[in-house]
């Protein structure tokens, strides 16, 4: 089976659970006091999709969004973006719209957008109604799902939905794109860049 690398970038306010979602997805692990992930450029997990294998390269913001200083290179070549908000924080849902706008401006044109309402285990202190979020997602043709990184709810599903939305690779694309990463090997293998 052909392995296809897909860059996915995470966006959303600080504390909504971006790192927790990746950690749950990649390592099936949840940590209440998750420390900012020092040293992780991105985490990877490979999942089957049709007759392809999708190797997700999941990029976390590395804190650069904290002071509104995310570099445009963060979005480069992303196949998908997951915008996370916290269902118990109305503010985090409001800023979501800013992230959507930001993606439209700086992200790749054909990027798959997914909106994840995280911490849905905390339904009793919910501030964002699911209906409202769902309607908003539909209005921008984005994937929508509520997740709980804590209870492992819908995290796998989130990435499955993304996988399904990724258009199958065109052969022409593979051939025409001869950009490569620099590695210790002298002959870089040609691969798709975005």
């Amino acid at each position: 089976m052909a392995i296809r690398e897909l860059k996915v970038c995470l966006l959303g306010d600080t504390g909504v659970g971006k790192s927790s979602i990746v950690c749950r997805f990649v390592q099936d692990h949840f940590d209440h006091n998750i420390s900012p992930t020092i040293g992780a450029s991105f985490l990877t997990k490979t999942v089957p999709c049709g007759n392809e294998l999708h190797k997700f390269l999941i990029w976390d913001t590395a804190g650069q969004e904290r002071f509104h200083s995310l570099a445009p290179m963060y979005y480069r070549g992303s196949a998908a973006a997951v915008i996370v908000y916290d269902i118990t924080k109305l503010d985090s849902f409001q800023t979501l719209k800013k992230w959507v706008k930001e993606l439209k401006e700086h992200g790749p044109e054909d990027i798959v957008v997914a909106i994840a309402g995280n911490k849905n285990d905390l339904g009793d202190i919910r501030e964002v109604p699911m209906k409202e979020a769902k309607e908003f997602a539909e209005s921008i043709a984005a994937i929508f799902i509520e997740t709980s990184a804590r209870n492992a709810v819908n995290v796998e599903e989130l990435f499955q939905k993304i996988s399904k939305q990724i258009p199958p690779l065109q052969n022409a694309e593979v051939e025409s794109n001869d950009s490569f990463k620099l590695t210790r090997q002298p002959n870089p293998t040609t691969r798709r860049c975005c």
Partner: protein
Amino acid sequence: MRSRDSVPAANMAAEELPSDFDIVILGTGLAESVVAAACSRVGQRVLHLDRRSHYAANWASFTFNGLLTWIEEQKEESKPEKIEDWSSLVEEGEELIHLSNSDPASITNLQVFSYTSEEEEADEPNTIEEEKAAGEDAVKESSETESAGSKEEEDAGPAEEEEPAETEEEEPEADQPPTSPPSNQSEPVRKKISHAQLVKEGRRFNIDLVSKLLFSRGSLVDLLIKSNVSRYAEFKNVTRILTYRHGNIEQVPCSRADVFASRQLSVVEKRKLMRFLTSCMEETEEQTAYSGRPYSEFLRDQQLGESLQHFLLHSIAMVTEDTPTEEGLASTRHFLRCLGRYGNTPFLFPVYGLGEIPQCFCRMSAVFGGIYCLRHSVHCLIVDKDTNRCKAVIDSRGQRISCSHVVLEDSYLDADRKRTATPPRYLSRAVLITDASVLPSDPDQQISMVTVPPTTTGGPSVKMVELSSSTMTCIPGTYLVHLTCQSVGSAHEDLLPVVTRIFRTTEPQEEDRRPSVLWCLYFNMADGSALEVEGHRVPSNVYVCSGPDGALGHEHTIRQAESIFQKILPEEEFCPPAPNPEDIIYDGDNASPGEDRAAVENGGNQEENQEKEGNQEENQEKEGNQEENQEENQEKEGNQENQEKKGDQEENGVNQEPEE
């Protein structure tokens, strides 16, 4: 708010910055960013600020609209700085050094010309010319004496006539209502692109302020690989070397395959060139005899003939008529050594432009805990009078932030504090959006390095890089052309003669196959190599970084960054490899950042990691992980073999490795 190349600050709650760091870094240019990555990587707490709203300072790349905004910003009169009274934050025995918060000197003589039609009917070239008065003087003054030979420039003939007439200042194009692209009548092949289209598709441009290439065995490539920052960027090979000679653009054969395939070289020339390239890899007595004498003389005496001399001097060594032989040979060897590592030319170019590179190092710093803040500056350094060391800074919000070291871009220092070469040196830059390649070919997605020897005696030799849309720096159907030379006069004076020879800026005439310029920008940038290494009037723990220099490669900047790092942390390794994503360990519930870091620091060592993983109950990815690691080890072995092979080829002078 205008479109910027970074996340808008709008409405997101501003957090307070921590008030204690090991290292505060001002400016996100390449040198500062490399220092930031290197320091964070070894566990230093880094605060990295830039007063601008974009990354990479004068190394930045912009979308078309972002560039128009940048142009407007450069033209804005710099407001007199409000000196705030921070005395309440200063303690006994401390004094303040005020920093500069605008950068009026580094970009000057900005001029924009637009040759696309604003509206369908208008076929007059539409010219917008802007000059930045203050800066202009700076360059003109310094160049008056040197450009005494400017009379000769009149031979540059057509230049003067074709220059479009100046019109009065016009509103920047960005706000113009969109117009539909004009139908193509005169030229069936090239599609005519309107200004509205450039604006509409503006975000697909990535226009660099600097124009450089990466030598495939240069220090930047080595550093990217060594540090694993290379993960964040993709590259393309520069596909061909061209040169301007006898009024034509010609391809320069440089690899063995090129030489044999060349149609413009005779069999005798091919043999001579191959022999020369092979022999020059080793030092010979004959070469030593020319030491101190010009390389051009050495080449002349090799009986190579005029074309080969031109190729070797201008396109392979890329030196001038009077460069000494030993230097010319060193450049030639460097060029040859870089051939074949990745492609058929020695050069690489990053997809999305050079502005990506500083951002990649910033990302590495952030990943290791560096804190990033754009649109944020430092107003003063607080200096301990006794020790002459900077112990804290005061940021633009009046917060006192303590630190042990400060690294800053030179534009933050007032002129009287820094030592620069006199007279000041500038680079002349032109950026052109054109509608065709200077040497059309099939396939058309070429990336070309073009050397243009001086068009007048004593004039500057111009380096030109032509990028096709495959680099993701311009839209399909256009080419982005960067011209760079050492300034003699203003950028427009220096580069217009070359532009008007190679491109056309007027309505197409019969037979004229030259590419048309759709839009172009001229400006001068301070030459970073003019900043002295030592001797600035700053506290002993403050280190100054320069902006971009005029050389094609990045050696100057990487050397500077490494030397600053070594002054700050003499015991530490410079940019050791960051761990592979697969090797990162999430510690258990009792994880503390300290432990995290320890795990990360061992990341390069896979065996150790696996042992640790073995101890972890929770790790379920272990198996997959080990497989990956094994794969990598195998790759590494393969790699060694390949390198030995390469060594052999290098001895043959021209190495040619088939590219996959």
